[in-house]
């Protein structure tokens, strides 16, 4: 909210005036109203192994994170460029592999990559789209510095929070929306349906039938799956509701099997088709990959997109962007050391107490080391792990992450945030929803925003002007 001195940054000016006139008790009351609202709408995530509280709320902070129109358009350009490059990269990897031939990135990044799906070689996905939905995690390190922390090209989640956080804010503070011109996010589900329909497979005869595939009611993101199905007006299915018949995928309806065209799947590659991937999986639909390869269905996102978003490929993104777009990357990467490389490993081991070390395939903030916050003992045991499996880790500097005010017991106080905008890709182009999910580290000085580690969320405003 504030710049280097005490001056209020322009996008926050209006909000600042408003919040100054509010008293803390009133704000705290609104905050508990928000919690009730989330409870009654059932916006929860599932936690396993805890009998009494199997469904929990992600803490919601009632102070919005505000981006000016100019900040957003700069950000959006960078994101668009990046997403374009990601799709071109995946296409190339599953076709001629020019980027590997040119030596711009090491072959081992792909050949040893568990996310590489050989069945995708030489296959053209319907509409030429691999990543129909992408979430790009962004951090801010200065007035004009946005950096990409992570690309999510498999099945990014969190969009329901973006939508429900806005809905909640409009219920709690309608007056704020008449004072500020905030761009709408509520078209996201409708647009997603349109963009998925635009990727219908060759076998699609009539208007495309889109459905969402969920691992089931016990999945931690089930709320989001059912929420999206509801908002998009499509069916929510599980693997057991689907069946391969005559080269198509049918869903079991009250009137028998009904062919579907586009499957927005919220399950990992491994659980898609036991015949192709994980033979032990009970979740998938046997034979769906064959149907996909013969043009009977569209899978969104395409199988094998994971090669574009693990943390060691991430470290090559600047080269990847330049290779496919011929332009310099508009959004910087956070400097990253690949511990698989001897020099980098030596550096990381030397500077462990300054760095953040993450697992290459990890997510959710688990298994990572935040050097400055770690004890001597933790540092020591982590270096042992690093030496043993250097290829499993990357390291990044601890950044001077931007903060945004959050409501605490004592009033508004700065907390670190990141931002995940959601991007839709269709043959008609790339569409970035103006806003996104702002995650906030609610513990003082904490840099970890993951909900599993005490993080919360905020509404994200992009101002119209």
């Amino acid at each position: 909210m504030f710049g280097h001195g005490e001056e209020v940054r322009p996008p926050y000016a209006n909000y600042h005036d408003w919040v100054n006139a509010e008293d803390l008790r009133g704000l705290r009351k609104k905050s508990s109203e928000a919690e009730n609202y989330f409870h009654s709408t059932g916006i929860t995530f599932n936690v396993y192994g805890n009998e009494d509280a199997v469904e929990r709320l992600i803490p919601f902070d009632i102070v919005p994170r505000i981006l000016s129109s100019a900040e957003w358009s700069r950000l959006a350009q960078g994101i668009e460029q990046r997403v374009r490059a990601i799709n071109a990269f995946i296409y190339d990897i599953y076709h001629r592999q020019e980027i590997l031939r040119s030596g711009r990135i090491p072959v081992s990044l792909i050949s040893r990559n568990k996310a590489f799906v050989p069945q995708m070689m030489g296959f053209d996905p319907p509409g030429g789209v691999y990543t129909h939905i992408v979430g790009i995690d962004i951090v801010r390190t200065g007035e004009n510095e946005f950096m990409v922390l992570e690309d999510n090209a498999r099945t990014p989640s969190g969009v329901s929070y973006m939508l429900e956080n806005r809905e909640t804010m409009m219920q709690l503070f309608p007056e704020l929306f008449s004072r500020n011109q905030v761009r709408r996010v509520s078209d996201y589900p409708k647009n997603l349906r349109i963009s998925l329909e635009a990727c219908a497979p060759p076998a699609c005869a009539g208007p495309p039938v889109v459905v969402i595939l969920t691992p089931g009611i016990h999945n931690s993101a089930y709320f989001e799956h059912s929420f999206l199905a509801d908002q998009m007006g499509v069916e929510l299915v599980e693997g057991s509701d689907l069946k391969v018949v005559d080269g198509r995928i049918g869903m079991r309806t009250t009137r028998g099997l009904f062919p579907i065209d586009v499957l927005y799947r919220r399950v990992d590659d491994d659980f898609l088709d036991p015949l192709t991937f994980n033979p032990d999986s009970l979740l998938g639909t046997p034979g769906i990959m064959d149907v996909y390869r013969s043009g009977g269905i569209t899978l969104a996102n395409a199988p094998g997109t994971g090669i574009a978003d693990d943390k060691s490929v991430y470290s090559c993104m600047p080269e990847i962007i330049e290779f496919y777009t011929g332009e310099k990357a508009l959004l910087e990467n956070v400097p990253t050391w690949r511990c698989s490389e001897a020099d980098s490993l030596a550096y990381v081991l030397d500077h462990l107490d300054e760095l953040v070390v993450k697992e290459v395939h990890g997510s959710g903030g688990y298994g990572m080391l935040v050097g400055p916050a770690a004890s001597k003992k933790e540092l020591k045991s982590f270096s042992a792990k690093l030496r043993k499996h250097p290829e499993s880790y990357i390291a990044q500097p601890t950044l001077a992450l931007s903060t945004v005010p959050a409501l605490t017991r004592a009033g508004l106080a700065p907390r670190h945030v990141d931002l995940r905008p959601f991007v839709q890709v269709s043959p008609n182009g790339i569409d970035i929803c103006p806003g996104g999910l702002t995650r906030v580290a609610l513990k003082k000085n904490s840099l970890v925003v993951n909900s599993s580690q005490g993080g919360g969320t905020k509404d994200t405003w992009v101002l119209a002007r």
């Binding site: 409870h39 709408t41 059932g42 509801d230 069916e235 929510l236 299915v237 869903m251 309806t253």
Partner: protein, 316 residues
Amino acid sequence: MTRLLGKTAGGLFWMFRFLERSENTARLLDAGFRIALTRSDAAQDEWNSILTTTGTQDIYFRSHERADRKLVINFLLRDKTNPSSVLSTIEAARNNARAVRASLTREVWEATNMAWITIREALGKPVRERELPAVLNTIRKHSSLVRGTMHGTMMRNDIFDFARIGSFLERADNTARILDVKYYVLLPTASNLGSSLDNVQWETILSSVSAVRSYRWVHEGKISASGIAHFLILDTRMPRSLAFCYGKIDDNLGYLTRDYGICHESHRMVNSISRSLNMDSIDVVFENGLHEFLINFLVQNAALGTQIEKDFRFYE
């Protein structure tokens, strides 16, 4: 035309069966409690017959010695080993609602979710006698909220049809069970032939289906065995009578037949059951035996449920 998953249709059907069941259990408790307050000598029998009506006496006596008032009340309200307790059924309804979330309007989902949150909290610890009226009131209020949102916001399509069929199948089952458990009260015997029935007994029957007042209206205060049986079995104006429930099931299956363009076996079964409920006089039922009639009805009603599951591929 919607493309409804068989599993979703089944989820809707069961969601509304469970909602109906939780309301019925609460209503039976209410009636039992009222008797206990006014006629302690009749109360003991009443608790036993409530357990019989809800079909839970086996489970109950597995862990209890006798049908003690406090124990029965808590068993019916909040015992998790009792699949028909209010807590179990409201939880089952909400789980089904969660599974079919995308077929419900936001209002119906939120009302169901709030019902679950509120009732679970109200039943979080054993309910004491003086809290019971307030707890039952909460349950009633939340059932009404779900029903209200359902009527006010849902499209009249196959989704609605499956929900309604579930409600009325469960309700018919409940009314028939209440009558069957009490049928001996309604039997004309030497002692009560022509005389009026025991006040307490008839009042329990009527109040367990929320019909004391409407019966008084229709029959101008004249209580008779045939009057009550007629009212609860044949009167198409009484929203918990068997004839009313079957009228509704017939309507909703009829819409499905029309929309889907196929008449399933289940619809034919409904027609045949409806015919047995379409009589001017209840005398025939008494002549052939009320108990036999009700048992036969319960069997057919259950068979209809199974046939609907099959016809519309709930579990395929």
